[in-house]
Symmetry: C2
Subunit: 231 residues, 2 copies
């Protein structure tokens, strides 16, 4: 590539990197708001999360189009191509995380609207939410710095979210058995906890993509890096 | 491109297309076996599904590597690049469908091993399984023929699977309320139904990728083609 083309490629790539980190920030905000709203019943916040999903979706489509354009125009080789392909995958995982935030907001709306709360507000679910959010933040940090070591740490920590999810599930089953009137409400909370558990899986996927970019190794399904399917 | 390079590109692309259809066939088999085993309690079949996932995972990594190599080597333009990028996305969806087959096999193993079956064998779940399987088959057919019209049909039909899932959920809640001893078992069946519902979502994603390849339009989040998050 001539120096001019080379510089243009770097500029395009930098723009895409900026956009994906912006998208990551937006998804982090969506998730934080959804968890907060589940905890305090703030309907306005729930509505904001549901409305905010449109922007997340648009960013997915836009960044994907940017990636395809960049590959078509500049024909990047080796490391650069790996990066662009990884970004395209990461965008999908971020969008799915955004869907989980919406899921939590919708289920919270249902919980607070249609039912008297029979169950305690489940500090464990909020704790699971904090764990997922921390995992997402660490993942975005590893992505911003393209830090494979930090990414591998995230992959290991997802197991904690899975354990928390399973503990919540056991607890809710106990509540349901003791008082069948709580069944419907407990199920709604299970869907919220499940959404949080899935956020952890998507964080793992993104971390695996970071390792792929840095080291060139595809570590999916290698044992260390497999998103476990809890429950 | 010279004629020689052009031919080589076509051969490489044809190889990738063959591999992804092979992978689709394998995932279809995995899902069919998982649904059958849930229905008849065949433990050996459940084990086969769980063991078979390794092959699905390997195919994902291999085909993805083929796609990256093809882009790096041949720098395809326009339609061809779209196809390769779409294949890379489709591979991810197929692998996730394979995970759902494993989930169904594992949950079925748990159901038949650790618990006496209090619940009827739920013909509705098997019916939902048939619907998901049919959707997967239609999707693979649309993919093999690169048929955008058939793909759009799949996208519409996913709503039927979602409805079926919601009906199963309501039915299981009724059972749980009537007899709290069924709660744990009912939850396991809910995870199976949820896995089937997710298969429909992934079929929708693949169908959207087919439309993208054929028409060049990204129809994700356009309303017609959004994988709904049931429950």
């Amino acid at each position: 590539m001539s120096e001019h083309v080379f510089k243009q490629f770097d500029l395009d790539l930098e723009a895409i990197r900026t956009h994906i980190l912006e998208m990551g920030g937006l998804v982090e905000q969506q998730l934080a708001r959804a968890i907060e709203a589940f905890g305090n019943g703030n309907r306005e916040l729930m509505q904001q999360v549901i409305a905010g999903d449109q922007k997340v979706n648009r960013m997915e489509v836009d960044i994907d189009a940017e990636c395809t354009r960049l590959i078509a125009k500049r024909a990047p080789a080796a490391g650069d191509l790996r990066l662009v392909i990884a970004i395209s995958r990461i965008v999908t995982d971020l969008e799915r995380m955004g869907d989980k935030a919406v899921k939590i907001a919708k289920m919270s709306t249902k919980l607070y609207e249609t039912q008297r709360l029979h169950l305690p507000r489940l500090a464990e679910v909020r704790h699971c939410g904090e764990l997922s959010l921390t995992l997402l933040r660490k993942t975005l940090d590893a992505l911003a710095r393209m830090d494979a070591v930090a990414a591998r740490t995230v992959i290991g920590e997802d197991a904690v979210v899975d354990e928390e999810f399973n503990a919540i599930l056991r607890q809710l089953i106990t509540y349901m058995m003791e008082d069948p009137r709580t069944i419907s409400e407990a199920l709604d909370i299970i869907w919220i906890a499940k959404a949080l558990e899935r956020v952890g899986d998507h964080a793992t996927n993104i971390a695996e993509s970071v390792v792929y970019v840095v080291s060139g190794t595809d570590i999916r399904h290698s044992g260390a890096g497999t998103a476990s399917d809890a429950a």
